[in-house]
Every structure is written in structure tokens, then in C-alpha cells.
């Protein structure tokens, strides 16, 4: 079938397109495929899970599409920033998509995720829409935080995404708090508290880990090690760059963060562990192609060869593409079509977001306090007096 479409591509293009489209959609087959992860896992005080990961064609195609969507979104955000439609800080996630996508495949929306400011793709993974993302980035009122948060403050309460935080490391104690609440409520879910290799040197992480371990809280600390804390390489800021070992008494696992299936396996393993035994640290060995943020070219502290080298050899989307093709789940062309589709989706979302209005001036004062709680009082907002003096 694949041969046919390729050979008579030119003649039967429209038909083949339709055929391949239907084949795409009907490949919702869940027949298991076993894939070996690129690298074995390294464990610290724990036996690492096996390298063989069970997956399905549907899952692989979903991975591809989701990662392509995320990649496209981040590139589009780059252009929007340069066009000055996005202002302030904009931290892009391209290169690291596998972490978000792999994690989502292993967990449910009842599990909580909290991360720092590199949160656009994780928000998407948690069920956020492109429209909400772009509207928020451009400061419009249809954004996920009504335009009042910005790039670093994406949240989605109904699907357990707790943000979106600007201060490095401050989200990890919050994450431990989320898992505290999960334990308090006995709801058998876990929290993934994500942070970077730069944040791994924050004291509050160790404080939080201590408490999580003390009380067996179902928390998983995920270090997205992209090897650079803005401009400082990990070997220049950490005496011990083995972040998965830094937990000391808490077990750790080192994972190839560019391999979505490895991430999925590790997160599944970690969730089982955390529910029974308390915190575990996952170190995702990943890489970001962009600089730290849009104000950082990303080439003053690393060579362009390094960046293109990683792109050639470890790119997460390429890996899934190769897997899909080698297992004959889709053709090269179909995948390219998916990418085109995704591009169109992103462009449409941007166009729609550009139409969205800026927040009203009255929004400046809303949501500072929650008004009224039963005891008779005027709102906790100095603008509101109970009575006007004559």
C-alpha cells in the first residue's frame, strides 16, 4: 500500500492524500509495539526500570503530532516576540518537548504538574489550547490568565496544571504542598514538581525534599537538565552535576529527556514509586535550542556546532519520526502533511488571538482579593468604602 502511494504519487495525488488521511485516522490501532529506549536508565538507590517500553501506533502518532505542534508553537512565539507582539520575558521550550509529551502519556489529569517559567508546552500538554496560549502571550483578555499573568504565569486548574512561576525554585515547595494536599485528601494521585539544572542549586529544593521524604509525600521532583542555567553551564555552577543523585536519601533516576518513550517509562515508574514510597527525583537529560529566553541569543556560552549537533542526533521529533517510519505506521509524506496541518493550526490560532481584545481597564483591580466571605464587611479593596462621608 505504501509502495503504491509513493510510486503513483503524482498521478493519484489527491486520492492518495485522501487515502493517507484516512489511513492516518484509522491507525488508531492499539496493537502494542515494544521499543527500546535510546539509553539505559541510571538509578540512584533504586533499581531502574527496563529499557523496553510498550507503546502503540496511536501513541506514537500522537507523540509526533503533539511535539510538532509544540515545536511549531514555540517557533511562532519567537516570530511574534521579534514582531514585538509578545513583550517582556519569553522562555521557549523547543528541544525539550519530549519531556512534556512523555510525562502526559504516563499520567492522568488528576495528577498535578507544576513548573517554572518555561511552561508554554506543558500547558499545552495539560490540555490548554493554542488560542489561550497566544492570547495570554500577547496580553489579551482571552488568555488563560486573562492577560494578567503573561508568559511565565500559565495555569489550568481543572487539569491539574499549577503553573507557571517566575522565581527560580520557588515552585518546588509549592509542588510539595500539592502532594501534601494529595496525601491529606488520600486521593492516590501524584505531583510532578519540575525545575531546571539552575534551580537545582536552590536551598528550598532540599528543604522541600526533606519534608517530602519525612512524610512520604507522593511527589516526583523532575529536573529538566538542559545543561545551562541561562548562560552558566552546569559544570560551572554545580559541584555535583548528577542531579538525580543530589537527593541523597531520596532515590533518583537519570533519563534521556530527548526520548519521549524513555520519559514515559520513567514517569510511570516514578508514579508507582511515589505512591508507595515517597519522593523520587527524575533527571531528564534534555536540551533547549533557543537561548534561555528571547533576550538571550544562546550562542555566547555554547557553540553553534553543539546546538546543531544535538539537533542532528538527539532531536525528539526526529526520533519519533524514524520510529514511525521504521515501523511503517505512516509515510514520510504523511508526517510532513501533519506538520503542515499543525502549522496551519498554529497560524489560525495566532490570527484569532490577534483579534482578541486587550483587557478592560477595570481588570486592573479584579482578582486582587476574593470579595466577601460571609461576615458582613466591605470588600478588602481600599477602593471600596462602606459609606461616603458627607
Amino acid at each position: 500500500m505504501a509502495q503504491l502511494t509513493r510510486r503513483s504519487a503524482k498521478l493519484l495525488e489527491p486520492i492518495s492524500a485522501a487515502v493517507s488521511a484516512t489511513r492516518h485516522l484509522t491507525t488508531s490501532s492499539t496493537s502494542p509495539i515494544t521499543v527500546e529506549t535510546s539509553l539505559p536508565f541510571t538509578g540512584h538507590k533504586i533499581d531502574p526500570p527496563s529499557r523496553s517500553v510498550e507503546t502503540t501506533p496511536q501513541e506514537l502518532l500522537t507523540f509526533f503530532r503533539d511535539m510538532a505542534l509544540m515545536r511549531r508553537m514555540e517557533i511562532a512565539a519567537d516570530s511574534l516576540y521579534k514582531a514585538k507582539l509578545i513583550r517582556g520575558f519569553c522562555h521557549l521550550y523547543d528541544g525539550q518537548e519530549a519531556v512534556s509529551v512523555g510525562m502526559e502519556a504516563a499520567i492522568t489529569k488528576k495528577d498535578c504538574i507544576i513548573t517554572a517559567y518555561r511552561d508554554h508546552c506543558i500547558f499545552l500538554g495539560r490540555g490548554g489550547t493554542l488560542f489561550e496560549t497566544f492570547a495570554e502571550l500577547m496580553g489579551r483578555k482571552d488568555g488563560c490568565s486573562k492577560g494578567k499573568g503573561g508568559s511565565m504565569h500559565f495555569y489550568k486548574k481543572d487539569s491539574g496544571f499549577y503553573g507557571g512561576h517566575g522565581i527560580v525554585g520557588a515552585q518546588v515547595p509549592l509542588g510539595i504542598g500539592l502532594s501534601f494536599a494529595q496525601k491529606y485528601n488520600k486521593d492516590e494521585n501524584v505531583t510532578f514538581a519540575m525545575y531546571g539544572d539552575g534551580a537545582a542549586n536552590q536551598g528550598q529544593l532540599f528543604e522541600a525534599l526533606n519534608m517530602a521524604a519525612l512524610w512520604d509525600l507522593p511527589s516526583i521532583l523532575v529536573c529538566e537538565n538542559n545543561h545551562y542555567g541561562m548562560g552558566t553551564a552546569e559544570w560551572r555552577s554545580a559541584k555535583s552535576p548528577s542531579y538525580f543523585k543530589r537527593g541523597d536519601y531520596a532515590p533518583g533516576l537519570k533519563v534521556d529527556g530527548m526520548d519521549a518513550l524513555a520519559v514515559k517509562q520513567a514517569c510511570k515508574f516514578a508514579k508507582e514509586h511515589a505512591l508507595k514510597n515517597g519522593p523520587i527525583i527524575l533527571e531528564m537529560d534534555t536540551y533547549r535550542y533557543h537561548g534561555h529566553s528571547m533576550s538571550d541569543p544562546g550562542s555566547t556560552y555554547r557553540t553553534r556546532d553543539e546546538i546543531s549537533g544535538v539537533r542532528q542526533e538527539r532531536d525528539p521529533i526526529e526520533r519519533i519520526r524514524k520510529l514511525i517510519i521504521s515501523h511503517d505506521l505512516a509515510t514520510e509524506k504523511e508526517l510532513k502533511d501533519t506538520e503542515k496541518e499543525v502549522r496551519k493550526e498554529v497560524d489560525e490560532a495566532i490570527a484569532k488571538a490577534k483579534e482578541s481584545p486587550l483587557p478592560d481597564a477595570s481588570e486592573l483591580f479584579t482578582n486582587v482579593h476574593v470579595k466577601g466571605f460571609g461576615v458582613e464587611a466591605f470588600g478588602a479593596d481600599r477602593k471600596e468604602l462602606r459609606a461616603v462621608l458627607p
Partner: protein, 393 residues
């Protein structure tokens, strides 16, 4: 006659003062009863010779105590009562802090609660203010209602980032998705020679944080009421207690009551001057008020209670009546609550003022250890009397 009365008034006031200061050790502050307050007869303007109870101690006549409604307790017990009632009422309420559980709280506010509610609900945290405050805020994001105890308010400076960014701002930056119903409480203020780092007044640092509410309790009655209100509030509330006020005794109602977080308390109505104060300085003001009354002044004393936002309604009505304002606070001169209150009153009620606002605050120095120096750091009743006399000339 008047001269005799006058001298009697003066001497009794000075006796009271020295008695008062001798008794002002950490564990034995006399109760300032709120009943015997106004001693000026409104009808003919003369002063009555009604005696003011300056040294009401533990109930001397049990029989008479039983006949009065309500029950007597100390301020820390009132806080505990409020806390316990709220924990009973709502299973989401939990406490976190250092030594709150098994130890019972360093000021006994949480004594017995861990035995009753378990170790998870009354959580003994390690000494990690930044992260356990963050942890409580994270728990609050999911719907729990944690009460964070700072063993001393000064230690919460370590958690400033969490309190400012996550506690105060998350409701706004998430576009209203998350509410943070936490209560952050603990003793602060200048104690008895506790040293500079343990005598801090954090209300001046926290007051700019958008999104939080701040209240200061000063009597067992308002301590319990404010504690309950703070727990029930959907907003993050910082409840400032004072190290020296924990052993105040008062009779409070048996029935359940919750006070408003945004209202000030009229301690003593008057006509000549409005004295605004809060927390421990209320007692210095009341002492000065006695002297002032004996000297023929009629001060109106308001315990502002709500430090953020200010109860401009009560304060405004008072300013409209008296046209003169003295603020007595324990914060430092620079950037304290008094500074903000001065600005707020000037902005809103400028036309009603007959004279510039006088703000008496602590000195802009780290609190020294030596007793006499420490006394001079803080506003004393004599200074309040002098300020009012000068203002009302």
C-alpha cells in the same frame, strides 16, 4: 476641690504607671478592663470621680464570676479556642509550623491540638520557613486551608518570596483561578530584651504586598474573632500577634462570634483628639489616656486592628469629629504602618484636620538588648501624653 482631685488623679496615675511597668514582665500583664472607660459625664462636662480598675487580676470572687455570662481566658487560649473551633468545623483547616504539634506551640497556641487531630493536621515542620510556607501555599492552591505559624514573625522574612509572590499574587496572576486561603500568624513586636532579630515588626515590610490582608489582635476577644475570620477568609491573611500580650486575661462570650477583618475597634469614644493605635501600643495609649483624662482631655482611642486595608470609615468619622490625629505605633518611623496611615488620612480627610497628624513610632534602630535602651526605642505613655498636650494646645 478641683486641685485636690487633680493631685489625686495625678498621683494615682503615676502610681498606676510605676505599678504597671513593674508588672510588665512577660508573664504577668494586668488586664485592662474595657468596661470602666469613659469617665467624663456628658451632661455637665465635669469629671466624675469614678475609679478605674487598673489592676484587675484573676477572678477573686468565683461566685460572681459564675453568674456573669461568658468565660475567662488568656489571649493565647482565645487564639487556640478560635483555631480549634475552626478545625472542628472544617476538615480542610490544618496547621503547619515549627513545634506546633507535639510541643504544643512555643506560645502554647496549638497545645493539645496534635493529640486531637493527628500529626498530619497539626504538622511539625523542620526549620525551613521558606519551603514550609511554600508548601502551605501549594496546599492552599488545591483547596486546603493551612495556617502557617512563624515561631517569631521575624523568621518569616525567610519566607518573604513565598508570601509576596505566591501568597499575595497568585490569585491575580492566575486570572482568578486559584485562591490562597492561608493564615500566616505568629508573635512579633518588641518583647522583653529579646534582642534585635527577635523584636521585629513585619507589618511594615508586608504592607505593600498586593493581595494579602493584615490584621493585628490586641485582646482575647478580638484575637479569637480575628483568628476565626482569618481562617474563613478566602484571601491570605497575616495575623500579627504580640509576644507580650499572650497572657492578657479577659472574659469572652460563650457563643460563637466572628469579627470583621476590615473593621477598627472603638476602644474609648472621645471628643478632643483621635488616637489611632494597634496591638501592644493600645495599652500604652490607654495608660496615657488615663493621665490625659485626669488632665482634662478627652481622647478618642481607636484600635485600628485592620492594618491592610485601613478602616477609613471608622477612622474618617472620628477625624471628622475631633479634627486632630495622633498615631501611636510600634513600627519604625520609616515606612511603617503609621507612615501609610498618615498618608491615607491626609489624602482622604485633609479638610477635616485642624493640625498636622502626629505620628509616634519606634526609633529607626535595631532593638537593643539593654532594658533601658529598649524602653526608649518604643513609644512610652509619657510621650503620648506630651504629644497630645502639644497637639491640643
Amino acid at each position: 476641690m478641683a486641685a485636690m482631685l487633680q493631685s489625686f488623679g495625678v498621683s494615682s496615675a503615676s502610681v498606676a504607671f510605676s505599678d504597671h511597668s513593674a508588672k510588665l514582665s512577660v508573664r504577668s500583664l494586668p488586664v485592662i478592663r474595657s468596661e470602666a472607660r469613659s469617665i467624663s459625664c456628658p451632661t455637665n462636662g465635669t469629671r466624675c470621680t469614678r475609679k478605674i480598675t487598673t489592676k484587675a487580676v484573676a477572678v477573686e470572687n468565683p461566685a460572681s464570676a459564675a453568674s456573669k455570662p461568658g468565660h475567662e481566658l488568656l489571649l493565647f487560649e482565645a487564639l487556640r479556642e478560635g483555631l480549634e473551633e475552626e478545625m472542628e468545623r472544617d476538615p480542610r483547616v490544618c496547621v503547619m509550623g515549627e513545634d506546633v504539634g507535639h510541643y504544643g506551640g512555643s506560645y502554647k497556641v496549638t497545645k493539645g491540638l496534635a493529640d486531637k487531630y493527628g500529626d498530619l493536621r497539626v504538622l511539625d515542620t523542620p526549620i525551613a520557613e521558606n519551603s514550609f510556607t511554600g508548601m502551605a501555599i501549594g496546599a492552599a492552591m488545591t483547596g486546603l486551608r493551612p495556617i502557617i505559624e512563624g515561631m517569631n514573625m521575624g523568621f518569616l522574612l525567610l519566607a518573604f518570596n513565598q508570601i509576596s509572590d505566591n501568597c499575595g499574587m497568585l490569585h491575580y496572576t492566575s486570572g482568578g483561578q486559584f485562591t490562597i486561603p492561608t493564615v500566616i500568624r505568629g508573635p512579633g513586636g518588641v518583647g522583653r530584651q529579646l534582642g534585635a532579630e527577635h523584636s521585629q515588626r513585619l507589618e511594615s515590610y508586608f504592607q505593600s504586598i498586593p493581595g494579602i490582608q493584615m490584621v493585628a489582635c490586641s485582646t482575647p476577644y478580638n484575637a479569637k474573632g480575628l483568628m476565626k475570620a482569618a481562617i474563613r477568609s478566602e484571601n491570605p491573611v497575616v495575623l500579627f500577634e504580640h509576644v507580650l500580650l499572650y497572657n492578657l486575661k479577659e472574659r469572652i462570650p460563650d457563643e460563637e462570634y466572628v469579627l470583621s477583618l476590615e473593621e477598627a475597634e472603638m476602644v474609648r469614644p472621645g471628643e478632643h483628639v483621635t488616637i489611632l493605635t494597634y496591638s501592644r501600643m493600645r495599652y500604652h495609649v490607654m495608660q496615657a489616656a488615663k493621665t490625659l483624662v485626669n488632665k482634662g482631655f478627652d481622647p478618642e482611642v481607636i484600635d485600628i486592628r485592620s492594618l491592610k486595608p485601613f478602616d477609613l470609615y471608622t477612622i474618617g468619622n472620628s477625624v471628622k469629629k475631633t479634627h486632630r490625629v495622633v498615631i501611636v505605633e510600634e513600627c519604625m518611623r520609616t515606612g511603617g504602618i503609621g507612615a501609610s496611615l498618615t498618608a491615607a488620612i491626609n489624602e482622604n480627610f485633609h479638610d477635616y484636620l485642624d493640625a498636622p497628624i502626629v505620628c509616634l513610632s519606634s526609633q529607626d534602630v535595631p532593638t537593643p538588648y539593654a532594658g533601658t535602651l529598649e524602653e526608649w526605642t518604643v513609644v512610652q505613655p509619657a510621650q503620648i501624653v506630651a504629644a497630645v498636650e502639644q497637639l491640643c494646645q
